[in-house]
Subunit: 412 residues, 2 copies
Amino acid sequence: MKNVIVGQSGGPTAVINSSLLGVYKTAKDRGADTVYGMVHGIKGLLDRDIADLSERFKTDLDMDLLKRTPSSFLGSCRYKLPDIEGNEAVYEKIFAVLNELDICAFFYIGGNDSMDTIMRLTDYGERINSPVRFVGIPKTIDNDLALTDHTPGFGSAAKYIASTVKEIIRDGLVYDYPVVSVIEIMGRNAGWLTAASALAKGEDCEGVDDIYLPERAFDIDKFLAHTGGLLKENRSLVIAVSEGIKTADGRYVCELSEHVDYTDAFGHKQLAGTARYLARRIAERYKVKTRAIELSSLQRCAGHIQSRIDVTEAYNCGGAGVKAAFEGKSGIVVTLKRVSDDPYMCITETADVHKIANIEKKVPDGWITEDGTNVTRELVHYIFPLIQAEITPLWVNGLPRHIRLHKKNTGK
Amino acid sequence: MKNVIVGQSGGPTAVINSSLLGVYKTAKDRGADTVYGMVHGIKGLLDRDIADLSERFKTDLDMDLLKRTPSSFLGSCRYKLPDIEGNEAVYEKIFAVLNELDICAFFYIGGNDSMDTIMRLTDYGERINSPVRFVGIPKTIDNDLALTDHTPGFGSAAKYIASTVKEIIRDGLVYDYPVVSVIEIMGRNAGWLTAASALAKGEDCEGVDDIYLPERAFDIDKFLAHTGGLLKENRSLVIAVSEGIKTADGRYVCELSEHVDYTDAFGHKQLAGTARYLARRIAERYKVKTRAIELSSLQRCAGHIQSRIDVTEAYNCGGAGVKAAFEGKSGIVVTLKRVSDDPYMCITETADVHKIANIEKKVPDGWITEDGTNVTRELVHYIFPLIQAEITPLWVNGLPRHIRLHKKNTGK
């Protein structure tokens, strides 16, 4: 038997380390000699910054902590592999390292951009007749991967969002005068996470009043008019908006007021200030108290609120990827297929990476209400099973305990 | 035996309802006929918006949920009683309602501003020889009340902040290039909450790099120079700043860039944007990726992270207030006295409301490091016992369950 290598890439989630654990334990169970970890993804491989995971995962407690530790244990990167044509040297270097480490299977836990890495390595591997198998393990809080019912990471983020929104609603309705709270939720182009705010509503909670997703063009005048209509009832409001809502001419709402802070390596604009802009517009128009609340990176790193369903599925996706690779598959991504809603049942399958990389799955138009101010029951029913059950943090000295790769801060 | 009335005022906390429960159960245990709740504080009393709490708290489950429900169950207000001189009509109205309801004791759960209400009602009551007793129950996440070791609400907020900061640190150090995360934490004039970020540091966490409290004048040039010094190590940074940091000439840092959204009924400026302003300045100066994270109202409404110590003490403060009133005391505030650090032990006492109302307790200068970029071990040791032990949320359908006064949204 040979060795395997695993990396984590893109934005972290609360359960990305459960997928890492799934890869590690399944590979060891199936006879892998050494399970290597790329430190900071494919960039770490290129820099030969590689860890032997057996040296770090010694006890059951280590693995229990790993499941509960948010963000990418191995570190992440946003490095995108260049086109093969004209950049063969990069690929030669990668395959030289894989050869040197006697790697039979390469696993990459990530989202759209990371699956692009799997696709290119698969294509180059085929060209040189490499025996290495390349498998993508899905991960993204954004839930925007194609061909999978949902993505590991989404359920825990949705659970965090719905739980937090419930609390913000209790807080937001406390005064005897109207306050409008505008909550900004992650999602550049897909509104799945913002839609999760709809789950707050129940017999113990009023729910949010309106939900605006990026799938529909945002009309600031209609928004203000609709909000004004609700304010006629002289009550407090809580409104959920996606960070990525855009006007019909394609401009981000946050760009209407403030400059974009920077653009990342993939050309994604870093957005901030949508809620603040809208809160200010409401305050100006209706002379009402407003609050802007950004859930910010807590949505993806709140390891203290994990969906047990999500943790289990993240682990299973890791395991299914190893199983597929050891059975000879390559150039694939593990996907989730929902076989039943009630009781909820989901199985793993695999799909050709070429059909997943760089494709974004958005919220279907039929799951948004006609006037674009809310989501339908179908969407709530879709998300509901994904936030069920809990994993309790391991509290030590009053705080959730984590595990980290480097015992000392290496500054990375 | 007669009736009692209780209200909640000012900003909510995660445990203010535990104090409400302490008042309710202790008053009932000691023979009160009816425990009334003012809906939206003293303003509800004036409007005769009053609830009979026994009708809402029927089962043990109701009370278990009340402990776990953040924000003020009875609603809050920011209404400040006017000077007695020239405004006797307001006081006559209040005492007429108290008389009508056959009230023997009046409890108000709140912070500095709310204790002003207790003080004025005590003074007016003495003037008219009223038999009603007035007792303040301390509550504020800000921990800025005088004469008490700490305030109920602070421990849970500190636990939330330290837990969340640990997660943000895991997330913030994930990439292979430097990212500077600036976390904005509540506290206009007192830095207690921001100081709680120091508790994140431990054998499983690098901790925050710098902490800036409002007790020291903030120098933007020194801040940038210090941050630049840390960036020479080419690593990611996490910096905690109080929303209330001010320059030597008394201007809030957030005012250096953006306008103040509004001023509340007590003349407090609503601050926002300190972290964003600093993150942008760092990005401009050092061409480094930055992130601004506002913990915002989640700090005070995160009922899913409660310190069990805090919940118990909040309950005890409510109970001690009832005991004192039933023993004939009036014009007092319940305080906490720490009698031992290890093991941690705290008892309740009472203090004259005139010595507490409208006074802010700040972080002692000696608990801030000389260069003003961090806090001392003494401050960490002071906060440490207050965040210990947990109360698990009652998860129903994947979300923390709450209880609310009105079964339907009344719009208040």
